[in-house]
Symmetry: C2
Subunit: 240 residues, 2 copies
DNA sequence: GCACCGGAAATTGCATGCAACACAGCGAGA
DNA sequence: TCTCGCTGTGTTGCATGCAATTTCCGGTGC
């Protein structure tokens, strides 16, 4: 368990806290008490503070000067912005990928897409979700632009709690795979405009699918300031 | 001078160091010694460390575990990535702005563009640069998407040292204004695709203009790992 | 009953101190 | 002469302690 691995405590803390937020263990809006976190992870407040600042700039937590940090509250409006931004960035990556992916990258993307077809047919949401991350990651990488791909990855992380549940929707896997098919076809053919459009459609559909889920969970979508709670994934343990 | 203004030392430090980097006072690659910065600003190492971490996540400085922080070195390849990303994001914002700007926002954008015409004709690079920031900011805001506009602003900040010089190029102001004209026309007409294309063209032209400048300053553009130094703007003072 | 105000507890912001690691310089051996 | 290892110095990482601010809570006046 002691995988120090050369990294510093601050880094490990940032990673662990981020993980806890992304997986839903730390619910949005919950207070991040420095001393409590320090006790919990067996360190002092200093590395905790640095980790929180770091997560603050990346948007996962909100640090209010002299008033402590909380897990970032995402309102419906902000969630919509995040999804729109995600869709646009992904679509841009897809367009660039269509223009600049190497033949090897294209073959690998095609193979990955094929493999996901099997997962969709056997209806294995967990495996599909993992492969889905790899699929989109391959397209980010194929854009050959570190800045865009970093941003896409960070957006994906921030949206993680909200998109996980949707793969369990009936038939979502098959539809997702079909949408991917359009993206892959356009990229393989080097059709930039089509790749952009196909990806934009795909991610927008994911968004509406998530919105449907949230609405079903009783989230008032019109309300502006009300925070959106992601679907509960496993026990949301709280520290006393 | 003591404008504490409720903000914490860490925040002010982060802002000041960022300013120093953006304006070129702190040259890329220069070491950021914690104790030296602490002495320079009359604080202890703790807020300096936190500020550096913060700037680290936003990409302005590079923090290497146990090896100190340096002002982010931007290689030619990374600079190209930054400009491509900037162009794509700006173009996306322009497309969204064309779709969703309010009539009031459109009128203001038009007025701003008109005012910049005068600045371009009287050839006032400093004022034009300020107005230019406002112009692009108006388009980010017009996209009505906080995530995209934040990202665009942060990219703009990171590229600031590299784009400042280009307004001094002969005739660049007039050309910039003409390119803006195409963007504004498309946005006012609600033509999303044209707005995207016009903005992409504009920012790409800025990029090639900057690349021309850098090449003239003797930067080996083919070399991968060699860092690019921005044009010197004023006295690059060093701390002893 | 409600708003306002003052004091105590809690929590953050920051300074300081110590230990661990990185890097430079020097000397011994091949 | 070159390489390797050792030691010393400087810097970073982290723990701890104190001061300042916020927040909570009870009391008072309206």
């Amino acid at each position: 368990m002691d995988d120090a691995a050369g990294r510093t405590r601050t880094e490990r803390l940032a990673a662990e806290i981020a993980e806890a937020i992304v997986t839903g263990t730390l619910a949005p809006g919950s207070r991040l008490d420095e001393q409590a976190l320090a006790d919990q992870y067996g360190v002092s407040r200093t590395p905790v503070r640095e980790a929180l600042r770091q997560l603050g700039t990346s948007g996962l937590v909100e640090v209010r000067p002299r008033r402590g940090a909380v897990v970032a509250q995402v309102t419906a409006a902000q969630l919509a912005d995040l999804f729109v931004a995600m869709a646009e960035i992904e679509a841009t990556c897809a367009r660039l990928a269509a223009q600049s992916m190497s033949p090897l990258e294209r073959r690998r993307l095609d193979a990955l897409h094929d493999a996901m077809g099997d997962l969709a047919r056997t209806d294995d949401p967990a495996s599909y979700a993992r492969a889905n991350t790899a699929f989109h990651g391959a397209i980010y990488a194929g854009a050959h632009n570190a800045v865009l791909s970093d941003f896409a990855l960070s957006l994906r992380r921030r949206l993680q709690p909200y998109r996980e549940a949707q793969f369990r929707l009936e038939g979502r896997l098959a539809r997702s795979h079909a949408e991917h098919g359009a993206v892959v076809a356009a990229i393989l053919a080097g059709q930039a405009v089509e790749a952009h459009a196909a990806m934009l459609r795909h991610v927008t559909l994911v968004e509406s699918s998530v919105e449907g889920l949230l609405a079903r969970e009783g989230v008032d979508e019109g309300g502006a300031a009300r925070p959106v709670v992601p679907g509960t994934h496993g026990g949301a343990r709280r520290q006393s």
